[in-house]
Amino acid sequence: MSYLLTATCAVPAAGAVLTAALPAGSSEARRRASKGVALAVSAATLALTGAVAASLDTGGARYQLTESHTWIRSFGIDFSLGADGIGAVLALLTAVLVPIVMLASWHDADPVRNPDGTFENVRRTQGFFALVLAVEAMVLVSFLATDIFVFYVFFEAMLIPMYFLIGGFGDRAGGPDSAAQRSYAAVKFLLYNLLGGLVMLAAVIGLYVLAQDQGLATFDLPTLTGAIADGKLVIDPTAEKLLFLGFFFAFAVKAPLWPLHTWLPNAMGESTAGTAVLITAVVDKVGTFAMLRFCLGLFPDASRTFGPYILVLSLIGIVYGALLAVGQKDIKRLVAYASISHFGFIIMGIFAFTSQGQSGATLYMVNHGISTAAWMLVAGFLISRRGSRLIADFGGVQKVAPVLAGTFLIGGLATLSLPGLAPFVSEFLVLVGTFAKYPVAGIIATFGIVLAALYALLLYQRTMTGPVKAGVEGMADLRLREVLVVAPLVALTLFLGVYPKPLTDLVNPAVNATLSQIHQTDPAPAHPVAATTGGEHE
């Protein structure tokens, strides 16, 4: 048994504790020390996650690097971890984004200086960075857990650090009631997700009790899915549907799926750009990831039953999110609604039950994470310069800060899935995968790409082009730190757009395994032609 996965999760957790324990940031040096420690820890985590991804054997077992430690014997709970392609890829995404978010939020959590030179709330800095590491640790466990209970525990527990991140650290760009708005957003985030989690808890318990009755007192995912596949564990259809809905509700809130989305714009709007990225690019991905891993694996029949309905909801989400993004006045809320639209694509890909759809959905999670991070973080830089989130307060930025504007445009283009950039690959896979089974859904979803162009470019047009607005004149261009934040994201967006093969190779086996769990195969083409693509017969 290797301890690589445990180490991967433990390092950020320990880092969180360490960072929180460092001396309070009353001086710049101390603050820098705690930031440095946190950044170093996140870098170490990235290295470990990279090692995990690199050591996966794509032809090997479904879950690799597995390890299992007894945790709560009374309930048959083991702290078991195991990586498959999907989990590893998402863990990698998390590990990549966290240091970037930290770097982007470098000064967001500095304590407020009082007029008399003292600092208020000197532990803010440590708090922020410790919370970010805590979120990272919990998200990593969620992606790597192969025990349903362990997953559930961390799925829920991550709400707490997230909640403090949202409620405790704003972007100083809100109005006079920003504190109230922020705590409203934080509470809404927490309650909404907690409700989802609690409903899931009921389902988790229900599943356990059912399994227990049939002699399988365990939360071990491979054991349970295996037993379900072998018919050793029989769940009656009504119960299966209810359990599926219980699980799915939690994930649909987290993802979020229309109409359970309304917490997201508030949460992303009121928090710092870094936190917003954590929400949409990291934490929310746990929801879609869990649909793929838990809903489909555990409840194959119910998944098939509900698949079309979920597809309809995700379709509504695609169009609805995009339309609302068009109508937003606040930059960050716009990004949030765009994300809702994108989550629609991801969920649609998952429930289309084709390998293209699901591989696409997995890639989509990664690509959306990267591209939205780029878009949102640059938006954050922009907002922090102007002290406003309102689109109407900007204009002509490209004239004074061309690099900022350029990177913002790239983020927007990635969001609208421009071919050549990473999101295109995943979006097209999702569309093709959906179209193959549900042509009408595929066509409607395609409207999303037009709307995406509309909101992304409208935002760019209104903020960056035109005459320079008052309040924008002296705006500084990106600083070195900020360039360092954006550059890797842009590079990844380009690289994965041109060469996504490393990811697809990791993801494909896991997706095929998932599909076979729900007894689905890709529809065959109507008139298959020789599989040469025309390229190799030279």
Partner: protein
């Protein structure tokens, strides 16, 4: 007690001395002995020595009692050697010892909070505690002024508490209804008095006491009448005997043949006994005293009531229903379903609009009573273990929370209005963080003891076929989360009020109390296996 009849009827000149297993009763005997010693201290020791002596006696007694519990458990009295003591009046078994342990630990924490003398401003060089200088003095009167100036303290609270603890130790171990009733009164009466003894806001304190007393007596009357009816039905108050009669195992005497014809006696008796116990537990609709009493009583007492009373009452509740009425499962379960649902929902919903932190915690305790009831309703061994574990977890969280409440003070004493907690996280991050931890545990967030407990009871309930209860429980947890979160929002995300309360620096006593709470909350959340095992092993009643 039929031997009494035999003795009387036999007209024998010598009544044989009842056999009493002193060793196995030692946990209770130690506490009662210490309580009497405490009374003597009050009577004979000069005032200035009383505090130290009382604290020492109380802690020693509780510690000794706890040690006795541990020794008894280690000797196997919780499992293999469990049995009935004192001619069947008291049971020594897993649940009894486990809950006695919990009660004793809660009591230790409580005594630590009682002994705290650094929070109140010093008077004439005397550190004073949370209790009235002189309970009998009229609030605001001359006598009180004098007592206050002299730095008097009511050290009687220690023996009173020891009496209450003794009663509580007996309550879950009581194996007949009479013992149960006596135990109920033994722990209730001192609590009525303790409620009245707050140093600050004495009017509220007295009001709490009078309400608690009157309603408690009212509930006791129901309890007693229920006992009478059950006795009438079964001809015995021993739980085992009642169970035998109910299930028809007992030999049918002519009298029984008459009384057992009439199920009304049994069912009515069951209902009325339940009223008494549900009152102590704080279940809806017998909960209305809880917020008022929790608010008015001195905070350490509130903590003690919330933790130990609930533990003891649930212990008795479990014993009654698991030992005496397993045969009536199909009668009482539906009713308890209703009570549990009402309790969870009303507790959670009412807490939403509370403005006082102590009242908030009171409603929270009501909601938690509902959650625990779902475990009781499971009526399986899992459920029993789960409830035991839940009580352990809940006791420490609630004690810790009330201990924190004692720290947040302004010039008028504890600042319990929620608005004055705004911005606490900025002023005293540590205290706020600790309180937030307790609130999260109350809310049942994973990795805290509250989650493990909730998971255990819900899981047992689901296994026991009470899935709808689980769903209601889950939904009311969500509502409940709202008000816990609201307090966190206030503490961390709101701006501090000008002239708001400050956090007093406690002595090591309160710090220990809070620290214990934090420790238990985290340990039971992160690595609960040992305690789950303990509760699991303890989850078998002797008959």
């Amino acid at each position: 007690m039929s031997h009494l009849l035999a003795a009387a009827g036999g007209n024998s000149p010598s009544i044989p001395a009842p056999h009493v297993e002193y060793g196995q009763l030692s946990p209770m005997l130690v506490v009662f002995g210490a309580a009497i010693a405490g009374i003597l201290v009050e009577a004979f020791l000069p005032r200035r020595y009383r505090y130290g002596t009382q604290v020492a006696i109380a802690l020693l007694a509780l510690g000794g009692s706890f040690a006795a519990v541990v020794v008894l458990a280690a000797q196997g009295h919780a499992t293999t050697k469990s049995g009935l003591l004192a001619m069947g009046a008291v049971a020594i078994d897993g649940p009894a010892l486990f809950l006695q342990g919990v009660i004793l630990l809660s009591a230790v924490v409580t005594v630590l909070m009682y002994a705290e003398r650094r929070l109140e401003p010093r008077l004439n060089g005397h550190g004073v505690d949370a209790f009235a200088a002189q309970g009998a003095a009229v609030p605001g009167g001359e006598q009180e002024r004098q007592a206050t100036t002299a730095g008097f303290t009511t050290t009687e609270v220690f023996p009173l508490t020891l009496f209450a603890v003794g009663g509580m130790l007996l309550f879950p171990a009581a194996n007949d209804l009479l013992t149960m009733f006596v135990a109920l009164e033994v722990f209730s009466l001192p609590l009525y008095l303790l409620c009245a003894l707050a140093r600050r806001r004495r009017l509220l304190s007295q009001e709490a006491a009078v309400k608690y007393f009157l309603l408690g007596a009212f509930a006791s009357a129901f309890f007693l009448f229920g006992i009478a009816l059950l006795y009438g039905y079964a001809g015995s108050v021993q739980l085992g005997d009642i169970a035998d009669v109910v299930s028809g195992v007992a030999p049918v005497t002519p009298a029984l043949a008459v009384t057992t014809q009439n199920d009304v006696l049994l069912l009515l008796g069951l209902a009325m006994v339940s009223v008494g116990l549900l009152f102590k537990v704080g279940a809806v609709p017998f909960h209305s005293w809880t917020p008022d009493v929790y608010q008015g009583a001195p905070t350490p007492v509130t903590g003690f009531m919330a933790a130990a009373t609930k533990t003891a009452a649930f212990g008795a509740f479990l014993r009654l229903f698991y030992v005496a009425f397993p045969g009536l499962k199909w009668d009482w379960r539906p009713v308890m379903w209703g009570v549990a649902i009402l309790t969870m929902v009303v507790g959670a919903i009412l807490a939403v609009t509370q403005q006082d932190v102590k009242r908030l915690l009171a409603y929270s305790s009501i909601a938690h009573a509902g959650f625990i009831l779902t475990g009781v309703i499971a009526t399986n061994r899992q459920g029993l273990g789960a409830v035991l574990f839940y009580l352990l977890a809940y006791s420490f969280v609630t004690l810790g929370a009330f201990a924190v409440v004692t720290l947040v003070r302004d010039s008028k004493g504890e600042a319990t209005h929620l608005s004055s907690w705004a911005g606490l996280g900025r002023r005293s991050p540590l205290v706020a963080a600790v309180f937030a931890l307790f609130l999260l545990a109350f809310a049942g967030i994973p990795l805290t003891s509250g989650f493990t407990g909730k998971f255990a009871v819900f899981q047992a309930a689901a296994a026991g076929g009470a899935t709808p209860l689980v769903i209601v429980g889950v939904l009311s947890s969500a509502v409940a989360a709202f008000f816990y979160i609201r307090v966190i929002v206030l503490m961390f995300f709101s701006d501090p009020q000008a002239g708001g309360p400050a956090v007093a620096v406690p002595s090591p006593l309160t710090a220990t109390a809070i620290g214990l709470g934090v420790l238990v909350t985290l340990v039971l959340g992160l690595a609960p296996q040992y305690f789950l095992d303990l509760a699991g092993k303890a989850s078998l009643f002797v008959r």
